[in-house]
């Protein structure tokens, strides 16, 4: 672990928050994509 000195809180918090936000948007997008894909396949099966 690199020596972060007195600003360790700053660096870790900004990295942590940013990664959390990134993981958040990725997760939301993936979940939404999967549920919509399932809905579409169900509709197409029923339709087809």
């Amino acid at each position: 672990m690199p020596e972060l000195g007195k600003y360790a809180v700053h660096v870790l918090s900004s990295y942590g928050l940013s990664l959390a936000l990134l993981v958040g948007i990725v997760a939301v997008s993936l979940v939404r994509s999967r549920s919509v894909k399932a809905r579409l396949e169900a509709l197409e099966k029923q339709d087809g």
Partner: protein, 242 residues
């Protein structure tokens, strides 16, 4: 096969299906390597100490926040002129990603500036302009949500995006005028790299590539979802009418 062929939703779906995983992997590789390299293997900056490491997230996200809006502007123009559904849906898909990028830029910018400014939020012109950009994004997403008919929604949001872009640029300079800069200046503007030594530079480029690729992957994923949603709506309408 001209570029406009890919504006056809079905072709777009088949074309992007193989691309999405590739872009996603590339994004992860660049992101991880860029951030790890920047976080672990760069010396401290003699003035700012370790906070300079925040640079590897703040600059890429700030760049993406602005370019996301620019991409939405281009997509809106394409929709208004060529009436290609995919570009309208791509703009709709990109907005939330733009919001996240703006939030990251705001958070990291505020934290990075705390030691210098002594407060967790300072009305620094560059940070404030991201706050304003955040408001523009909110308005854009809210307008999409408020309209049922997809075509009307695409038209109105495109008009808002075009008008909003002019005012965003205007606000950028108004904010500058309003509070003389506290910020470190364009720490990575392509031409003036005066205050960032080379060794900081390379990981930053990799991190930027990572953010750009991540943005593209997310937009492709979300656009495909939007296209599927439209297809569901179309199938349901047709079923109801037949």
């Amino acid at each position: 096969m001209s570029l406009w062929e890919y504006a056809n939703p079905k072709k777009f779906m088949s074309f992007t299906a193989p691309i999405l995983p590739v872009v996603t992997v590339a994004a992860l590789v660049c992101l991880v390597s860029g951030l790890v390299w920047g976080f672990f293997f760069t010396p401290e900056d003699y003035r700012q100490g370790s906070t300079v490491k925040i640079f590897y997230i703040h600059v890429p996200s700030a760049l993406m926040a602005i370019n996301a809006w620019f991409m939405m502007l281009v997509a809106s123009l394409i929709w208004l002129i060529r009436r290609h559904h995919v570009s309208a849906l791509a703009a709709k898909a990109a907005a939330p990603v733009g919001i996240v990028m703006t939030l990251i830029a705001l958070v990291t910018g505020a934290i990075w500036g705390q030691p210098m400014w002594g407060t967790w939020w300072a009305w620094d012109p560059r940070l404030t302009s991201f706050l304003i950009l955040f408001l523009f994004y909110l308005g854009y997403v809210a307008l999409w949500a408020a309209i049922d008919d997809p075509d009307t929604a695409a038209d109105l949001t495109s008009v808002l995006c075009i008008v909003g872009s002019v005012f965003a640029v205007l606000s950028r300079y108004a904010v500058n005028f309003w509070n003389q800069g506290l910020h470190q200046g364009a720490s990575l503007s392509m031409d003036a790299e005066e205050n960032v030594a080379d060794i900081f530079w390379y990981p930053a480029l990799v991190a930027i590539a990572g953010f750009v690729l991540l943005f593209i992957a997310l937009v492709l994923l979300r656009t495909r979802t939007e296209i599927r949603l439209r297809r569901i709506r179309a199938l349901e309408t047709r079923a109801r009418r037949s």
